[in-house]
């Protein structure tokens, strides 16, 4: 299992890549493994401004459904258009083509509360 060092993580099993004021968000390799085969990703919050921990979408897997939580407050500027036709990319490439949203952060200081790769690795027991 991989935990890329350049990413930040949340206890809700999301990863965040921060570039200046913008953040790209997806779910971790651990999370996709727990969910199993993903059938579709439903994100209907593009353009909305949501607070940290608010639900921005859901992931439906064959066996289960899971909410997606905002790792940081901000405006959702983009939803990965590839997920519509290729939801399985979340299983196959969670840190790459399986990314979910891009966020324009409204409070960059919140990033300090995110977990490092090492902390997240400990959290999931690896």
């Amino acid at each position: 299992m991989t935990f890329p060092e350049n990413l930040k993580y949340t206890k809700d099993h999301e990863w965040v890549k921060i570039e200046g004021n913008r953040a790209t968000v997806g779910i971790t390799e651990f999370a996709q493994g727990e969910l199993g085969d993903i059938v579709y990703v439903e994100i209907e919050t593009e353009g909305e401004t949501l607070k940290h921990e608010e639900v921005f979408g859901t992931v439906e897997a064959v066996k289960t459904v899971s909410d997606l939580f905002m790792p940081l407050s901000g405006k959702i500027t983009e939803v990965n258009p590839g997920l519509q036709s290729n939801p399985e990319s979340v299983n196959k490439d969670p840190y790459g083509s399986g990314w979910m949203i891009k966020v324009e952060m409204s409070n960059a200081a919140e990033a300090n509360n995110l977990l490092s790769a090492a902390d997240y690795k400990t959290l999931v027991g690896h």
Binding site: G36, V39, Y40, E42, V62, K63, T64
Partner: protein
């Protein structure tokens, strides 16, 4: 939440862990939920052959002149119709209109039977049957000493035939044989399963579990045999519309409401048979139906079912994305007037009402 230390293991738990299975607590056991992934495992069973460790299931042996009477008293199907070597699907109604458990009844001999029950209900079932055992039928709970592998799929027969002299292709569905298997005597080979993919279930003592497992995997190698977890077991049974105790049927659902009228035979008296007969004559007020989603959404246990006006008419009991059909399917109880095939219903998924229609089961037609 259960902790791992309280969980029971099957004789094959270490095998599953070493194969990289994802283990989860299920009915008090540490069980494999998946190995290579649910869709892959599901497809393996539909097209090839897969092996499920379902040793958590319970097995009781009932012996004696009055064994049949006791079985007739506690189960709804007519066990007097069984011949030696035959199996029957049945259920045990309770006395308040619901179901204690669903089970398989195996007839060894006129005075010896095997009952196979759900893992989560072993103790409840045992106590329930004991309550009615007034004529001293000899009952043994061999659950903890017995392993059970379900070998399922179109290549199951060719796989298992290599390991036994019992002529498997001559065995009828819902019959069993006791014979030599993988070099061991007195193994039960049963033409049954919970997948609709064909195949057999093999019962044997825990002590030889590793050897039986290895022999089956060696025999099935040429067919691409794989271990299958409980996740795919659930999607496979759901495509066939088979009930799962605890989800689709329970202590509060009547066998008639659950579509189990075909195993509820009023040819004899059994627990609550008078009330059930009355229910049959009057008609039930709700029915378990199968439905397909017409719009995007996956039904899950306990979601509400509504009519076009938004009034709640029932509840989902099981649901999944069907790996074989590639559509979302589910089962649930609805008011009888909504139970006809093609009736439009709505499943409340989070804050939305998603369109679905009632369909005849099985979902997967042969």
């Amino acid at each position: 939440m259960e902790t791992t230390t309280e969980l029971k293991s099957t004789a094959l738990s270490q095998k599953h862990i070493s194969l990289g299975a994802k283990m989860v607590p299920f009915a008090g056991y540490n069980m494999p939920v998946s190995y290579t992934g649910l869709n892959d495992e599901h497809t393996t069973v539909r097209n090839g052959v897969g092996v499920f460790d379902v040793s958590h299931m319970g097995e009781f042996v009932l012996k004696g002149d009055k064994a049949l009477d006791l079985i007739q008293r506690v189960t709804s199907n007519d066990a007097s119709k069984l011949a030696d070597g035959k199996v029957q699907y049945s259920c045990m109604p309770n006395d308040i209109g619901g179901i204690v458990d669903d089970l398989l009844v195996y007839r060894y001999k006129a005075d010896e039977y095997y009952l196979v029950v759900n893992a989560s209900n072993i103790e409840k079932d045992w106590n329930w049957i004991q309550k009615y055992n007034v004529h001293g039928v000899d009952m043994k709970n061999i659950s903890d000493a017995t392993s059970l592998l379900a070998v399922q799929g179109p290549k199951a027969l060719a796989t298992l035939q290599k390991l036994t002299d019992v002529n498997l292709s001559a065995m009828e569905y819902y019959s069993f044989a006791v014979g030599k298997f993988a070099g061991f005597d007195e193994i039960i080979i049963s033409n049954t399963g919970y997948t609709g993919a064909g195949g057999f279930e093999i019962y044997f003592p825990n002590a030889i579990a590793d050897k039986i497992w290895d022999a089956i995997f060696e025999a099935g190698k040429e067919f691409g045999i794989k271990p299958i977890g409980l996740g795919a077991r659930d999607t496979l049974r759901l495509e066939m519309g088979f009930c799962l105790y605890g989800s689709d049927i329970d202590d509060t659902t009547s066998p008639l409401e659950a579509g189990l009228g075909w195993i509820t035979k009023f040819t004899k008296e059994f627990t609550n048979s008078k009330v059930l007969l009355e229910q049959k004559e009057k008609g039930v007020t709700k029915k378990l139906v199968g439905f397909e989603m017409l719009e995007r959404g996956i039904p899950r246990h306990d979601y509400e079912i509504a009519d076009a006006a938004g009034a709640v008419i029932g509840r989902v009991t099981s649901g999944t994305q069907s790996p074989s059909l590639n559509i979302a399917i589910g089962m649930g109880y609805v008011k009888t007037e909504f139970a006809k095939a093609d009736t439009e219903i709505f499943i409340k998924i989070r804050d939305k009402a998603i369109k679905a229609k009632v369909v005849k089961m099985p979902f997967l037609k042969k």
